[in-house]
């Protein structure tokens, strides 16, 4: 009963946590990029087009359920390549300039999507084939991906690449002086995020059943950033904790009706003021206090 009612919510939390994580990797290297949502949108369109367009009917026939992993791989490859193409020039920019460039990239992508025929214009694509009867079934898509990404992130913080990311975050010039190829590492962190966002998009199109330009609105970008910062940008658990709080909150506050979005805003402001290290930072400091 609980799982029936809350299946959508649980899957949405995992899905949004993964999106938050796609933004977490560049942030780990000190790069504030809001491009993730654009790659998410593109991955979703790849899956939606392959799932609905007559041009791919033969593929769907031949592959059967194996179509989904093929979509993920294509979305991964396309996002990583586009990420590379955008990242190499864009990552010369620092701080807020990079954030603005990535916002611009997503806005241009949105206009392109609205103008093209293959993406269904403003209406978008719908009737995307759904592999599972119940909402909860989609955990078979998102759950393993989240587990893999969490393990990957936790391992990453102990590898040369991960340590280089963190060195760049702390002080880019010093990192460069230490012989870290900063541009290469920044692009690497960015491309990991792009690829992940693309795969999450390809998994989300069947889950949501419809795909349109609203998937990559500015609000959605902001939500991703908020998951990471409120969850805790320095912990691998941050995106998951933040997504759990911010996705569940409007549901919990449903009795408040229209006022619940106001509450969302209040939570953002209060969390910024009182939880500068995010929920993960709060938990860590509580644990430290217990030990002492």
């Amino acid at each position: 009963m609980f799982l029936e009612n809350y299946g959508f919510l649980i899957v949405a939390i995992v899905q949004q946590a993964l999106l938050g994580m796609s933004l977490w990797y560049p942030l780990m290297a000190g790069q504030l990029s809001l491009a993730s949502i654009g790659f998410y949108s593109m991955g979703g369109y790849i899956a939606a087009i392959m799932g609905t367009s007559p041009a791919f009917a033969a593929w769907r026939e031949a592959l059967g359920p194996a179509l989904y992993p093929v979509e993920w791989l294509i979305a991964l490859a396309a996002s990583a390549l586009l990420g590379l193409a955008v990242g190499i020039p864009a990552l010369r920019l620092r701080g807020i300039y990079l954030a603005l460039a990535t916002i611009a990239f997503v806005q241009v992508l949105n206009v392109v999507v609205l103008v093209l025929d293959v993406t269904g214009g403003a209406v978008g694509l719908f009737g995307i084939p759904q592999p599972f009867e119940s909402r909860l079934g989609y955990l078979w898509f998102f759950g393993p991906l989240l587990a893999v990404m969490l393990i990957f992130s936790a391992r990453l913080t102990r590898t040369v690449a991960g340590r280089s990311f963190m060195a760049i975050r702390e002080d880019e010039l010093a990192a460069q002086a230490m012989g870290i190829p900063t541009t290469f590492e920044k692009v690497r962190a960015f491309v990991i995020g792009c690829g992940l966002a693309g795969v999450v998009g390809a998994m989300s199109a069947p889950f949501l059943n419809t795909w349109n330009a609203r998937q990559s609105s500015f609000d959605a970008s902001v939500a991703c950033l908020a998951y990471v910062l409120i969850g805790g940008a320095r912990s691998v658990w941050g995106p998951l904790l933040g997504a759990a709080l911010l996705v569940a909150l409007p549901e919990v506050l449903r009795p408040l009706k229209d006022a619940r979005l106001i509450m969302n805003g209040i939570v953002l402001v209060v969390a910024c003021i009182y939880l500068p290290q995010g929920i993960a930072g709060l938990l860590a400091s509580l644990r430290r206090r217990e030990v002492a």
């Binding site: 206009v111 106001i262 910024c272 500068p276």
Partner: protein, 316 residues
């Protein structure tokens, strides 16, 4: 291509570009003092337009909590414009107190200020939706009194139509730009603001009340935002509480194009983007929303400091 099309596009572009410029100035003033982009500026833009609407029309529409209520008076448009802008200035001050001051007091990461300003924007926009509903409001046509709707010129047998609201926009924006330039360069307060922007610590050592000037900056920024919101609203109608979001993003493109923190840059950026949109050939009009962002992307790659920005040299 003919001369009438070019002239018409030029007037359209100048008019819309000058509103982009005063809207973007609000971002730039705050950025030059705090080094942070105030993402709630788009919400202030929307709220300012709604305040002017309420003052000029006298009621709050048909939906939401305030449905059916009305003000006991109606102001003529120029007074309502002034009133709406001042109220928007007050909202700007509110944004500073809610989103920026508590974080500044703690010396928090600037990234968090960005998120908290987004939070405040969410609060403002949803409160507005709660109060007046989500439907579209149009300023009534009689709002400009007895002025004609448009001026029509005949040239080479083709018609050049200039809407009255475009001329009002152009005049008000230019007057505002000149007033701001005078204020910043000729008055004591403007110079103190510039000093604070240059270096807050030194300014405070010189006896400038930095917190007070930050508050004034937010007031001016909010008033400029509200003014531009009203002008756009009077021209195209108020498209619901989320009306400011796309202008908010476009404003970011404007200030980066001109050079972050540069006042002449914001003006130039606004005009360049306004004219760029207006001169887009009619066949490509569906791409209009992309013009500002393509320009932004290109300028960031070619000249990251913007057209009139100063190159910052990073110290080790």
């Amino acid at each position: 291509m003919n001369i009438v099309f070019l002239l018409q596009s030029f007037i359209n572009g100048l008019s819309i570009g000058s509103v982009y410029a005063i809207f973007a100035l609000g971002y730039t003033l705050v950025f030059s003092i705090l080094g942070i982009i105030n993402f709630a500026h788009g919400a202030v833009f929307t709220l300012g337009a709604y305040c002017t609407y309420a003052l000029a029309v006298g009621d709050f529409g048909l939906n939401g909590l305030l449905a059916g209520m009305s003000l006991p008076f109606r102001l003529p448009f120029p007074l309502a414009l002034l009133g709406g802008s001042l109220l928007a200035g007050g909202i700007g001050v509110l944004v500073e107190r809610l989103a920026f001051r508590p974080l500044r007091a703690k010396g928090a990461d600037p990234l968090l200020a960005l998120v908290s300003s987004l939070g405040v924007a969410l609060i403002l926009v949803n409160c507005l939706q709660f109060l007046v509903g989500a439907e579209i409001y149009a300023f009534p046509s009689g709002i400009f009194g007895s002025l004609p709707m448009a001026m029509v010129f005949k040239m080479d047998g083709k018609v050049l139509a200039v809407r009255t609201v475009q001329i009002i926009i152009l005049v008000v924006s230019l007057a505002m730009l000149l007033a701001l330039a005078w204020f910043m360069n000729r008055t004591r307060m403007g110079k103190a603001l510039q000093a604070t922007a240059e270096n807050p610590e030194t300014a405070s050592l010189l006896g400038i009340h930095v917190d007070r000037y930050i508050l004034s900056t937010f007031f001016i920024s909010g008033a400029l935002g509200g003014l531009s919101g009203t002008l756009i609203g009077a021209s195209f109608g108020l498209a619901g509480p989320y009306f400011g979001v796309s202008y908010g993003l476009k404003g970011l493109a404007v200030i980066v194009l001109g050079g972050l923190g540069s006042i002449p840059g914001a003006v130039l950026g606004g005009l360049v983007i306004g004219l760029g949109e207006a001169f887009l050939p009619p066949d490509y009009s569906s791409m209009k929303e992309a013009v500002a962002f393509v320009m932004l992307f290109v300028i960031l790659l070619a000249r990251p400091q913007g057209l009139l920005g100063r190159q910052t040299i990073q110290k080790v």
